[in-house]
C-alpha cells in the first residue's frame, strides 16, 4: 500500500460520518414529526465537528423531544421531567472533556424545569441545550404549554388560555445567556450550522428549534416554516453579515430610532448601507433581545441563526481552575496526612 493510501485510509477512519452517531434503536416519533429532522441535523453537526461518539453525552428530560438520546450512538441519559439541565451540569462538571447536549422541550425546560434552565444559563456551564419548541404538550396529548400564545385553545384550555407565554430568547437573556440561536425543524442546513456553532461556543448554548407537532399543533410555525412564506417572514442572521432577507433578497433590517424596522432596499431612500450588520458578540444584549423578539405581527421577520454568541467565563473551567490554584498552594498529601496536619490534634502515647 502506498503511503498516501494509508494516510487516506486513516483519514477516512478518523473522520466520522453522521451514521456513526445513529443507534440501533427503532425511532418512535409520529410519522411527519419535526423531531426527525432535528435528529438528522444533530448527527450531521456532530460528524462535521468530528467528535468521537464516546466523548458525547446526550441528556434529556421527559416529553417527545426527550426520546432523542435513545437514537444516538453516544452515551445517553433519558431522565425525569425538567431535570436534564441539572443532570447535564453534573456530567459536565464531573468530566469537562465531554461534549454535553441537552434535548428538551418547551414544557420540559420552561415549565417544570424552568429553574434548572435559567440557573444553568446563569452559571454558563458549557452544555448545548436544544429546545424543541412546538408550543404544546405532545406526549400527554395536547395541553397548552408555557410558550402557547394567549388565547390558545387546547384540551386543558377549551376556552383559550388567559396567560402570557414565555419567549425562550427573553428568558435566556434575562438569565444572562451567552449564546442563543434559532432554527426551523425543516431547515436541516441552517440547523446543522447553528448546532455546530452551539457546540463550538464555550458556555451554555440555547438553540430554539421551531418544531412542528404534526398531531396536536400542526402548522403552528407555518408562517415561518412554509416554503411560500419562509423567505419573506424570516431572516437568517450571521455574524458580520448584513441582515438581508426576502425572496428577492432586497429587504433588510434597519434601525429606526430605538426600534428595528424591515425596509425594502431602494425604496423610501433606504440603501444597502442603511442595513444593519449583525454583531453576535456584543456583551450588551439589548439589540440581540430586539432581534430575537422580532415578530411577524409587527411587520418584522423572525430571526434565525446565531443571534448571540459572547465569550464569558465558563463554570466548569473556573471550578477546575480554583481546584488547581488550591492544589498549587497545598502540598499533595493523603487524607491521613491532611488530618494529622489539621488543627486541634493531640497525641496519646
Amino acid at each position: 500500500m502506498e503511503v498516501t493510501e494509508i494516510a487516506a485510509k486513516e483519514l477516512r477512519y478518523q473522520k466520522h460520518q453522521p451514521k456513526d452517531y445513529k443507534s440501533e434503536n427503532a425511532i418512535r416519533w409520529c410519522p411527519g414529526c419535526g423531531d426527525y429532522a432535528i435528529l438528522t441535523s444533530l448527527q450531521k453537526a456532530m460528524a462535521e465537528l468530528n467528535i468521537d461518539p464516546h466523548m458525547i453525552a446526550v441528556i434529556s428530560g421527559i416529553g417527545c423531544s426527550s426520546r432523542l438520546p435513545y437514537y444516538m450512538n453516544t452515551y445517553g441519559f433519558h431522565s425525569i421531567h425538567g431535570r436534564a439541565a441539572a443532570i447535564a451540569t453534573g456530567v459536565k462538571v464531573a468530566n469537562p472533556e465531554l461534549s454535553v447536549w441537552v434535548a428538551t422541550g418547551d414544557g420540559d425546560s420552561l415549565a417544570i424545569g424552568g429553574n434548572h434552565f435559567i440557573h444553568a444559563i446563569r452559571r454558563n456551564v458549557d452544555i448545548n441545550i436544544l429546545l424543541f419548541n412546538n408550543k404544546i404538550y405532545g406526549l400527554t396529548k395536547g395541553q397548552y404549554s408555557p410558550t402557547s400564545d394567549r388565547g390558545f385553545v387546547s384540551k386543558s384550555s377549551p376556552f383559550g388560555t388567559v396567560e402570557e407565554p414565555f419567549r425562550p430568547a427573553e428568558l435566556t437573556f434575562g438569565a444572562r445567556g451567552t449564546f442563543f440561536a434559532r432554527a426551523i425543524d425543516v431547515d436541516i442546513k441552517n440547523q446543522t450550522e447553528v448546532m455546530s456553532e452551539a457546540a463550538k461556543h464555550k458556555g451554555t448554548s440555547v438553540v430554539e428549534v421551531l418544531q412542528n407537532c404534526v398531531i396536536f399543533n400542526d402548522g403552528i410555525h407555518n408562517k415561518t416554516s412554509d416554503r411560500n412564506w419562509k423567505a419573506d417572514n424570516t431572516v437568517i442572521l450571521r455574524h458580520g453579515e448584513k441582515m438581508i432577507f426576502g425572496k428577492e433578497e432586497n429587504r433588510g433590517i434597519v434601525l429606526d430610532g430605538w426600534n428595528l424596522k424591515a425596509v425594502t432596499i431602494g425604496e423610501h431612500g433606504y440603501t444597502i448601507d442603511d442595513v444593519l450588520v449583525h454583531d453576535a458578540t456584543t456583551r450588551d444584549n439589548t439589540l440581540h433581545m430586539k432581534l430575537a423578539l422580532m415578530d411577524i405581527a409587527d411587520g418584522l421577520p423572525v430571526a434565525l441563526g446565531v443571534i448571540r454568541s459572547v465569550k464569558e467565563l465558563t463554570y466548569e473551567k473556573e471550578y477546575e481552575k480554583q481546584i488547581e490554584e488550591v492544589q498549587m498552594m497545598t502540598p499533595k498529601r493523603s487524607f491521613t496526612e491532611f488530618l494529622l496536619n489539621s488543627s486541634n490534634i493531640w497525641e496519646v502515647k
Binding site: H78, S79, I80, R83, A86, G90, V93, I323, N344
Partner: protein, 621 residues
Amino acid sequence: MPTNPVVTDIKQVTIRFSGDSGDGMQLSGTLFSTLSAIFGNEIATFPDFPAEIRAPQGSLQGVSGFQVRIGAKDVYNSGDKTDVLVAMNPAALKVNASFLKRGSIVLFDTDSFQKRDLDKALFQTLDPFAELNLDYVQPIGVNITTLTKASLEDSGLENKEILRSKNMFALGIVCWLFNRPLEIADKLLEQKFSKKPLLVKANIKALTDGYNYGNNTDMTASTYRIEPIESTKGFYTDINGNTATAYGLIAASEKAGVDLFLGSYPITPATDILQELSKRKDFGVKALQMEDEIAGITSSIGASFAGCLAATSTSGPGLSLKSEALGLAVMTELPLVVIDVQRSGPSTGMPTKSEQSDLNQALYGRNGESPLVVMAAASPTDCFESAFEASKIALEHMTPVILLTDGYIANGSSAWRIPEMNDYPDIKPPYVQKKYKGNAKEWRPYFRDEETSVRYWGVPGTPEYMHRIGGLEKDHLTGVISSNPDNHQLMVNTRKAKIEKIADFIPEQQVTGDTDADTLIVGWGGTYGHLLEASLRLMANGKKVAYTHFRHINPLPRNTHELLKKYKKVIVAEQNDGQFAAYLNGRFQDLDNIHKYNRVEGQPFKVSTLIEEFTKIMEEK
C-alpha cells in the same frame, strides 16, 4: 458563700453554657469541650440552639445552649441533667431549670439579672431562684459584665466588642472550676481568631481574668478534677458528625480512586457538609451549591453517570423534594450517597431540633417498587465509618444509599482517633471495561455480574461502551425500552434481589450484654449513646438485658430474625412514633415480642427516663 475549696475527683460531669443567641455560648462550649478532649477527657456535646438567628434579646425563645459532658471514661452521650449551668441571663436560667441536678452550680451574671432582664424572661418577682423553687442548687452570682468591662478597659476594643467577650470571662471561671489548663484555650483562641490579633489578645485576657477571679475568690465549695483517660495510642482530634460525614466521603473517594462530587442546597442541620466539602478543593472535591434540592440530587446523578463518587446532603424536607430523582437513581442503578441529617418534622417542623422520623421516608418515599440501601450512623465519629461504608456499598453495588444521621450527632462532637486508612477495605467499582468478560459490541447496559446481580458501570468517555439509560423500564437483556409484563416483573424482582444480596457483604448484627438476657433493647441511629448507657446501667443493676444497635436497616444483617426471636421481650426505642418497630414487624411477621418506646420531642433521650420506662416494660406480665 462557702469559703473552703474542696477538690472533688469525679468520673463525669455535665456543663451547660446558656445565654442569648448572641452571647457566644456555642463558642464557649466548643472551646471548653475541645480543650477538655485535648486534656485527655472523653467528651460528648449537644449544641441546642433556636432556629431564630437573633430572637428578641433576653427572651425565652432566644436562649441558645451548649451542653458538654466530660469524663474519664464511658461518656456515651451528652448527659441528661447538668452539674454546672452557666446562665448569662434570667431566660437561660428559666429554660434550663428543669435540667439542674440537686446540688448543681449555677454560675450567673448578676449584671444581667436586673429587673428589666427578669421582666423579659417573664419573671414575676425579683428572686428568680425562689420563683423557680431552685432551693436545691448552689447559685453563684458574679458581676461578669462589670468585670469584663474592667478587664478590657485598655484593650482598644469598642464597647460592643468588649461586652461580647463576657463569654470568655465566664469560660475562664469554668476553666478554673474544672482545673483546665489555660494554655490550650489560648492556643485554640489564636487559631480561631488568627486574622484578628486584637481580638485574640482581648479574649485571652478576659479568659485569664475570669480564671484568676475564680482562683482568688475561692468562690465555690467544690472544684472538680476529672483525670485524663488512658486511651488507645494515636493521634486524636475532636470532630462533629457533619464533618465526620464529609471526611468519610473524602476517605472513600481516595480509597476508590474516583473524584468526589457533592450536589447540595443549604438546609439546617445538613449545611455543614456542603460547607466542609466546599473547602476541600485540595482533594479535588467538587461541591456544588445548586439552585434547589432537586438540582442537588440530579446534578449528583449526572456526576455519578459520568464516573464520580456522587453524594447529596440534605434534611427531611429536602429528601421529600429528592424523591423522584431517587427513583431515577434506583431505576438507572447508579451509585449515589444521599445523606439525610434528620430534624423534627413534618414540613418545616423544628429545624434545629433532632429526631429519627425520616426512616419511613427513606425506606418507602418513592413511587413504584423502589428498593435502595438505608443505613444510619450511631454517633458523631461513627458518621465517618458510616459514610465510608455507604460509599463503598453505593460504588460496588451500583445503587443509591440513604445514610440517616440526625441533628444531635451532626452538631455534637466527640474525640476521634485519626484513622489509619490502610486498615480500611478497598473499594472497587464494577467498571465494564475491567469486569465484563464478553466483547464490547455485545455488551448491553443491564447485563449483570452473576454473583452480585450488579450491572456494570460504563462511564462516558470510555471508548466502545456507548449506551443509553433512563427512567423508563428496560429490557433485561437488550437494554431497550420495554413494557413487556414478564420483563417488568423480572426487573422488579432483580432490583429487589440485588439490594437483598448486599446482606452478604455487611457484618452480622452484634449484641452487647448477657447471653441469658430476657430482654433485648433495640436502637438505631443517633440514639446509640443514650440507649447503650441505659442498657449498661440496667445490666449493672442486675437486670437480664442485652443491647443491639442497627447501622444497616435495608438490607438488615442476615442474623436479624434469628436474633430477635431469642428474647422474651424486644424493646425498640426510637425518636419517632415506632417506624423501625413497624418495619421489623412487617419483615418478620411471626415476631410477637416487640415492644415500643417512643418519644418525639425534638430533644435527646434522657437515660434516667429510659431506665424507668424499660424497667416498666420488663416488669409487665
